[in-house]
C-alpha cells in the first residue's frame, strides 16, 4: 500500500498550489487571475459597448444613472503533469539492503501523493515516465478521485532501467500537455547532461516548473574507503579511485556544492526546487517539506 487511510485523508485536504492560475478548458475549483463568470464578486468597471448586458448592475444604474459592469472571479482547473525519472540510477540503494531508502520507490510514492492531491482538487493529472531519453509510459490526463486507483496501478507497474537523457525526455514530453500548467519533475539528476535545457524549454511554454531532487544519503556521504573500482550501475562506466579521508571529505563538499548549485540555478530560472534525502519519511516530505516549498498548500 502506498498510502494508509489517515495519510490519504490528509492528502485530500491539500490542494496543489500555483501562484499563477491558468485558464482551463473546464471550470475548476481554482481561482483564476482572470475575471470570469463565477458567482464570487470581484470588482466593478465602466460599461463599454458590446459588454454582456446580463452583467450590468441595474441597482447601481438606478441609483447613479451610470452603467457599471459587475466583475466576478473566474475559477479554473490546473493542469498537473508529473514527470518521473526512471533511469537505473534511481534503482538505489540496492533493493533488499535498505528498502526504506530506495530512491525509485520513494519517487513513486511522492508522485502518487502529488497525484492524489491533484485528483482530489479536481485538477487534470498526467504522469509521464521518462526512460531511455523518451516518454516510456504515460498516464492520464484524468480527473477526479475515481482515477486514483488507476494512478496507483500505473505507478506500481513502473521499473527503473536503462539510461536517461533527461533533456531529450523532457523535450519529448513537451508535446503532451495541451495547455500550460504545473510540471513536477522527480529525479536524482544523475544524468551527465543534467536537465537544465529541458526545464528551460518548459518554462518557455509558460509552465510552472518544480524540481524534486531525490537522493539517497549514501550518495552525499559515501561509506567507502580504500582502493576501489567504482562501477556506474546506469552506464557501466568504471572509475578507479583510491579513497582516503581527504578525498572522501572533498567528495562530501563537492556533492553538497552540487546540490547548492542546482538550487541556485533553479531559483535563477524561477523553478521551485526541493531536495529530499530518502531517509526523510515520504509522508513527512509530502505534508511538510512540499508545503514549505510552496508546491502544495
Amino acid at each position: 500500500m502506498l498510502f494508509d487511510e489517515s495519510t490519504l485523508r490528509k492528502l485530500n485536504q491539500l490542494t496543489l498550489a500555483a501562484s499563477r492560475i491558468r485558464a482551463g478548458g473546464l471550470q475548476g475549483d481554482r481561482r483564476s487571475t482572470r475575471r470570469g463568470s463565477s458567482v464570487e464578486f470581484a470588482d466593478y468597471r465602466n460599461y463599454a459597448p458590446g459588454d454582456d448586458l446580463r452583467r450590468l448592475d441595474w441597482n447601481i444604474y438606478a441609483r447613479l444613472e451610470r452603467p457599471f459592469i459587475k466583475l466576478f472571479e473566474e475559477e479554473e482547473d490546473l493542469s498537473v503533469t508529473i514527470l518521473l525519472d526512471g533511469s537505473r540510477s534511481m534503482d538505489w540503494p540496492e533493493p533488499g539492503s535498505q528498502d526504506g531508502l530506495h530512491k525509485f520507490t520513494y519517487a513513486r510514492r511522492l508522485a502518487a501523493g502529488l497525484g492524489a492531491v491533484a485528483l482530489a482538487s479536481g485538477d487534470p493529472l498526467s504522469v509521464l515516465f521518462l526512460q531511455g531519453g523518451r516518454v516510456a509510459a504515460e498516464y492520464g490526463p484524468s480527473r477526479g478521485q475515481a482515477a486514483l486507483s488507476r494512478l496507483f496501478g500505473f505507478l506500481d507497474g513502473l521499473r527503473p532501467d536503462g539510461l536517461t537523457d533527461l533533456n531529450a525526455a523532457l523535450r519529448q514530453a513537451l508535446v503532451k500537455p495541451r495547455r500550460a500548467g504545473l510540471v513536477v519533475l522527480i529525479s536524482d539528476l544523475l544524468s551527465p547532461e543534467g536537465c537544465e535545457s529541458g526545464l528551460r524549454e518548459w518554462m518557455g511554454r509558460s509552465h510552472e516548473a518544480t524540481l524534486v531532487h531525490v537522493l539517497a544519503p549514501d550518495e552525499l556521504n559515501p561509506p567507502l574507503a580504500g582502493d576501489l573500482q567504482l562501477v556506474d550501475m546506469e552506464t557501466g562506466y568504471e572509475q578507479d579511485v583510491s579513497l582516503d579521508g581527504g578525498l572522501r571529505s572533498l567528495y562530501r563538499e563537492r556533492a553538497q556544492a552540487w546540490v547548492q548549485a542546482t538550487r541556485a540555478d533553479c531559483r535563477k530560472r524561477g523553478i521551485r526546487y526541493l531536495d529530499l534525502l530518502t531517509n526523510l519519511p515520504w509522508d513527512q516530505a509530502l505534508l511538510l517539506e512540499m508545503r514549505r516549498a510552496g508546491i502544495v498548500k
Binding site: 540496492e94 533493493p95 559515501p222 576501489l228 568504471e238
Partner: protein, 644 residues
Amino acid sequence: MQFLTPLGLLLAALAVPIILLYMLKLRRKPVQVSSTLLWERLLRDRQANAPWQKLKRNLLLFLQLLILAALVLAFARPALLMPVVASGSVVVLLDASASMNAADVEPSRFESARQVVGTLIDGLPGGSRMTLILVNATPNAIASAETDRAALKQALAGAQPTLGSADWESAFALAAGASRGSPDTTLIVSDGGLPKGLPALPGQVRYVPVGMSSGNLAVTAMALRPTAQNPQLFAEVTNYSADSRTALLSVYLGEQLIDARQFNLGPGENQSLTLDNLSTTPGIYRARISSPADAVLDAFPLDDTAFAVYQASAARRVLLVSKGNLFLEQLLAALPGIQPFRALPDANGALQIPNEPFDLTILDGIAPAELPAGNLLFVNPPLGGNDLFQVGAPFKEMENVQVHDHPLTRSVDWTNVHVLQAKNVPLPAWAEALVSVDAGPLVFAGAAGNRRVAALTFDLRESDLPLQVTFPILFSNLINDLVPPGAFDAMRPLRPGETLAIALQPGIERATVVSPSQQGFEISPGPNGYTFAETGELGYYAVNFIAGGEVKKVEYFAVNLFDPSESDIRVRETVQVGRAAIQPAAAEQAGQLELWPWLAALALLVLLIEWQAYHRRRIPLPPNPNSGFRGRGIRQGRPGGGPP
C-alpha cells in the same frame, strides 16, 4: 665512488616481488554505485589541479622501492675515495707524553692527535688492519691488528695523555713486534720530541706533526740540599723559546713567599737561583715562574711550578768517635742521608761522648767503659772486649776468606781486599759472620738486645779495604742496616710515573698516600718491599704512616716534570728514525669513506614516512547509522524496486 661488496646490488631483484605484490594488492575492489558522475568530476578536477596526485596514488610503492634501494645500496657498501696519510696495514704510534698536553692548539695537542688518528680510522679501507700504540713512559698497544673500526675508535677514545716522558725505544720495539707481517705504514703522530738513535722500522715510516711551534719557559730543576748548617735550595729556569723572555721566579715555603727574582733569559738559556740558610724545620717549597706582565706565560703550564720537600728526619745523625780516621770521615761525609758528627777530645785529650742521642755511634779503636745508647759500629775494637763481645789477640793467618751470603754483603767483593792482621773475636751468639777466615770473623753484625751492633775486627789502616770499591758499599750496607734511612728519600727528585720505594719503619702497620688531587691510595707490599707507583700527578704527595688505627707520622714527597725533552715543546719539522729523517706526511694514499650508515639511516627515515603515509590512508569508516552500505560485486540484470 666504488662498491666494496658489489654483489649486494643483486638484492635489487627484490624490487620485482615488491612490485608484483603491489600489483596484486592494487587489484581494486569493484563497488557498484548509483552514478560515477560526481566522482568523475571530482577526480578530473583534482588531477587537473595537482598532477602529482597520480604519483600520490602509488606513493607507498615508491616509498617501499626507495627503502629497498637505500638498503641495497647500503649492502653494496659504497665508499668515497678520499686521501689519507696511511692505508693497508698500519701501525700508529700516538705520542702521549707530557708535552702533548700543551694547549698551543685547541683544545690540546693530544686531542688534535686524536682527531688525526680518528680521521685515519674513518678512512681506513676495508680489510686494513691497524695497531694503535700509546707512547708514554710504558708504551702499550691499545689496539692490536684490529680491523673493526668501532673497536679502534673505542680504544682511541680511551687513550689519555700522561704527565711523564715517552719511552720511544720501547714503543719502537713494540711497533716492530706488533707488525708480525711487515706493516705497510708506520705512522708517528707526535710533536716530535723523539730521542736520537732510534732504530729503523719496517715498512714506510710517516710522521704527522701535531701542534704549532711555541715557546715555553720551565722550572727545569729544584732541589733541597742539607748542608752542615741549614738546608740550601737550588732552582733553575730555562727558556725554550726562540726569543728572549722575562720570567719572575717566586719561591714559597708553604704559602709564604720567601724569595722572588726576575730573570731575563736568552733563547735556550738557563739561569739558577740558590737560597741559603733556610729553615731546618720540615716544609714544602714551591717554585713558580710567572709572567711579570701578568699575562699567560706559555702554552705548557705543567712545568711552570715545581715542588721540593725538606724532611729533617731524612738526615741520620752519626757520631764518629775516633782518634782520627780520614777514611771514615770522608766516607761519612760522602754517604747520602747522613749527618755526621765527630766526638771532640776534652782538656785531657780524652774523647768526650756527648749526651745527646745519636742514631749511630761509630767506635773506632775505642771502647768506652759505658757503651753509648743507640746502635753501634765497632771498628778495630780494643783488646779485652766490652759488654757485647770478647776481643782476643791479633792473628795474621788470613786463610780461606769467606764472604757469607747475607743482605749486608750484597755487592761486596772481598777478592782484592787484604788484611794485615785482625783481632780474634769469638762470634757472639747474637751475631752473624759476614766475612770470616778460618781464624775468626772479620766482619759480623746482629741485634744485641734492643740495639743493632756491627763490628770490623781489624784496623782499617792495616788493610787496603779503604782503597777498594767495596769499602763504601760495605759501609753503606752496614750503616743503612744499623740506622735504617727514612721511609723514603724525600729529597730524591721523582718524575711522573717513577716508582717510590717506601720502607715502613718498625711499629708502623700500614701507610696511605694522598695524591695532589686528594686521591687516596693504600700502599701494598710488592716483591721489593713497599712501593708506590701511582705518581702520575705533578705536585706533592702526603704519606700517612698508620699504626693502631691512627696516623703516627706524615711525610711528603714531590713529583716534578723536570724533563728537558718534554719542556721543549717546539714542534720538530722532522724526526730521525734509523738513518732517515722523516718529513711530515702529506695525505696521498687513497682511503675510503663508507656511506652505508647514511644509507641505512635514510632507509629507516623513509620507513617511518611510509608507515605514516600508510596509516593516513587507512582511516576508519565514518559511522553512518542511516546507511547499511556493504561493498558488493557487480550484479547484472537485477529487478527494480519493490511494489509501491
